[in-house]
Subunit: 171 residues, 2 copies
DNA sequence: TTGGTGACAAGACAGCTGTAAAGTCATTTA
DNA sequence: TAAATGACTTTACAGCTGTCTTGTCACCAA
């Protein structure tokens, strides 16, 4: 293992584990002295990595760590009623639909906000859709669209995927 | 000054100054011993403040400060050529157009990506608009729309506003 | 062969935070 | 009045990072 490989590995370790890692700890992992690690950290910092040293070890600030997970799902369906069923499936299983995204020939991705997290939200949203007779964004792409959804954990995400698949909405 | 007042002041100091502040430094400012500061930090942390201790002092992570400023402008115009003139005006004066936003009866805000920062970008974008004969998003609202633009400083922002106003694009 | 360079080990030290213990002083409570 | 409590000071120590110095070893070039 070269110095550079070790430095890359150090960054991976720091990024992967959220917790602090002490210099001596890293030194033992890579079978080098603590001073070598100190030097590696200096080099990594010089190359732009935002490594922070604390009395309990090194760490890097997590890149926008949110309590809940954000996932993107690709779904397809046509008709207003299908929209409702899709949304209901997601919120019933613990997900929150943040937006809808479709591909536009000029703008690339177009995002529309939804912020639908409960059955009540779904109702309000569908009411607006029906009242305004507005074309849903997904009509631009024959029903194909993406949603950003927020879920508390991986398990919830898997469950939502299963339920959507069961109803043939998932791509 | 009570303990609570001192703790509030400590947080203000840490948030205001970007740099690290040592325990002994804070102790001298408030005329107390370092141990009192240590205790204060412990209390503040217990109350949810994300204070980080480093060998060079305490600090709080800055709230996602970006190097450049992001501003939102409201403009209005009709016709494809006006689009081009508006974009050119912005990029010529040092702005980058990140997106276009219009109000949609159902989705609220709809965002389309632009990422136009140079005249070349403007050309490419206009080419796509003309080739695809795609309706620009702003046609939904009689030409009224918002842009998020990125500028290096306030001065640039003011200049862009002046130039847009001169051409009667600004609301 | 000789000299230079890079990577590393080992030890020592300074500065910082965090913890703990013991003592002082004013205020509150029984 | 006497005890208890809270805020603070002082002292001491452990653990960590960062810096510095000295020495070893392998490799490469003149």
């Amino acid at each position: 293992m070269t110095s550079d490989e070790r430095r890359v590995s150090i960054m991976e370790l720091l990024k992967t584990r959220g917790r602090c890692m002490k210099g001596i700890e890293l030194a033992e992992i890579f079978n080098v002295s603590r001073q070598v690690i100190v030097q590696d950290i200096a080099v990594l910092r010089a190359s732009g990595e935002a490594i922070i040293a604390t009395p309990t070890g090194y760490f890097v600030t997590p890149p926008r760590e949110s309590v809940s997970l954000r996932k993107t799902i690709v779904t397809k369906h046509e008709g207003v009623d299908s929209i409702e069923e899709e949304l209901v499936t997601i919120v019933d299983n613990g997900g929150k639909i943040l937006d809808v995204i479709v591909e536009h020939p000029v703008y690339g991705e177009i995002r529309g906000n939804l912020m639908v997290g409960t059955r009540y939200d779904v109702e309000q949203f569908m009411k607006k859709v029906r009242e305004d007779r507005a074309e849903p964004l997904s009509s631009l792409t024959e029903g194909l669209h993406l949603h950003t959804i927020e879920v508390p954990d991986e398990e919830t995400y898997e469950r939502i995927l299963r339920e959507l698949k069961k109803r043939n909405y998932l791509i």
